[in-house]
């Protein structure tokens, strides 16, 4: 099955690549544009593939950015021997998902300065701190954000994960962990030649809840009191039911 599909994809791509070669464009497609979080969701692995008008030595970087929102970093301090959260910093537009993939080490593709300007790399993201009290040692907090997001697998850097085939096809797997949030994910495919961006293509992945799990979530959000009462009644019913069953046994 898998083999057939691969052949099929490759065939399509070869045709595509002939068409786009002249226009200096990227053509890309995803194996899945809608990811549904249903009861059996364990994370998703999406195949990104496409064609580009490449030469020997060209590079491809793929950046997937999830919805942005508030992330709070807390720092513990020791109070009377107990480790307590004593300080916090709010990042107001931290991406809740980020994956950076490339065909080789990003440092070899772009120098530090270019990475910074084009906001590529975990440390070059434009995340803002909620205005308020001045923070000393901002760097330390920013590193903590990156470290914790990497640990939760919501952020990732996968160098050498984009396969390039004959300077005209590329392929990469994007993995969404099971704790991924819902929303629109932007997929950016960047084509570099001698550290210069020569073409770019964007595409979207839509992550949403579906089925039973989505319905429960919606009831819990929109009819929360009713949901609570139902949860209690279900428990009462099961408790009473077991008692009947075990009395007979």
């Amino acid at each position: 099955m898998k083999f057939y599909l691969l052949i099929h994809i490759l065939f399509c791509l070869i045709i595509l690549s002939f068409n786009v070669k002249a226009q200096n464009q990227i053509v890309a497609d995803l194996s899945q544009e809608n990811v549904e979080i249903s009861t059996d969701f364990l994370g998703a692995k999406i195949l990104l593939f496409g064609a580009y008008d490449g030469r020997k030595g060209d590079d491809i970087i793929v950046v997937v950015t999830g919805p942005k929102g508030l992330a709070t970093i807390q720092k513990k301090g020791n109070i009377l021997g107990v480790w307590v959260n004593t300080k916090k910093v709010n990042y107001i537009n931290a991406p809740k998902y980020l994956s950076i993939s490339s065909n080789r080490d990003i440092d070899k593709i772009l120098n530090q300065k270019t990475q910074k300007i084009s906001e590529i790399g975990l440390n070059n993201l434009n995340v803002r701190i909620q205005p308020g009290k001045p923070i000393n040692n901002e760097q330390e907090w920013r590193e903590a954000l990156t470290r914790n997001m990497l640990k939760s697998k919501l952020w990732s850097v996968n160098e050498n994960s984009v396969s390039l085939i004959k300077n005209s096809l590329f392929r990469s797997y994007l993995s969404l962990p099971s704790n991924v949030t819902t929303g629109k994910f932007e997929v950016k495919i960047l084509h570099y030649r001698n550290s210069k961006l020569i073409s770019k293509e964007t595409s979207n992945i839509n992550v949403s809840k579906s089925g039973f799990s989505a319905e429960i979530y919606n009831i819990a959000q929109n009819y929360s009191t009713l949901y609570g009462i139902l949860a209690v009644l279900l428990a009462v019913f099961i408790g009473w039911g077991t008692n009947l069953v075990f009395r007979k046994v």
Binding site: M1, L42, A44, I46, A220
Partner: protein, 317 residues
Amino acid sequence: MYYHNQTNNYENLMYIYLPIAEQPIHSLVIIGVGLIIGFIMGLVGVGGGFLLTPIMMFLGIPPPVAVASVANQLVAPSVSGVLSHWKRGNVDFKMGTVLLLGGVLGSSIGVILFNFLDKIGQLDLVIKLSYVIFLSLIGSMMFSESLRLILRKRKGKISRGKLHQHNWLHGLPFKTRFRKSKLYISVLLPILIGVIVGVLAAIMGIGGGFIIVPAMIYLLGMPTSLVVGTSLFQIIFVAANTTVLQASQNQTVDIVLATLLLLGSVAGVQIGAKFTNVLKGEHLRLILSTIIILVSLKILTELITIPSDLFSIVIRR
């Protein structure tokens, strides 16, 4: 969809995505945990929540969801337990009602406090500190009491003594007669106990059995035979109140998690109850108190050892 990572692994079929906790979990693990906790509950009459909530947090369920869902699951084994005790005439409904009035008030205060602590980022600390303080206190009390009883029985001395000790607590106003428990005490005392237990129940995700049972024995002086059934009776209402409030205030009740847990626990309670005649009460309490002390030491160690990363993250949905 074809290229989706479909490994067709049977193991994967056992995973179920929790809609509120927003993560998949192995369903058999949860049912198994429920079964063991239910067994302890049926055997000793207490010990559902205080072990369950830390286990859920250990499995990676966010503390607010763990606390609220454990409260929800507690309703089922409590209903089931009360029905069995009722049949044997082991429930003092008058005392239970007075306790639950306090309990409902207390758990309402608890949910508000819970919400506030979550907002200021100290919820985790308060949950853990409450566990350390109450578990070590109750654990050591229960341990020494049951050990003394075992040693005394070994020596062959069985002292009868008074029904219970009288102290200043019995001098409070609004004295009421609790026929079933053979007590003539102030209603303020059980109401106050109910309030305190209610607050703790809401914050710690427990029924409060492990606090209320010793309180009923040592502070109220209730007969031991009535204690378990009566405490289960009041736990139903405290847990139900906590569930509805947590659901409406914080949307943290995961009905799927709670249902998986209670499927295990209701069966466990019944099995545990069958073993109560095999094992002696004081021996059970000795074992349980040892577990309680160990759990409290474990949490204490977590609080006082230097964390591997001083920084932690909270991502708001």
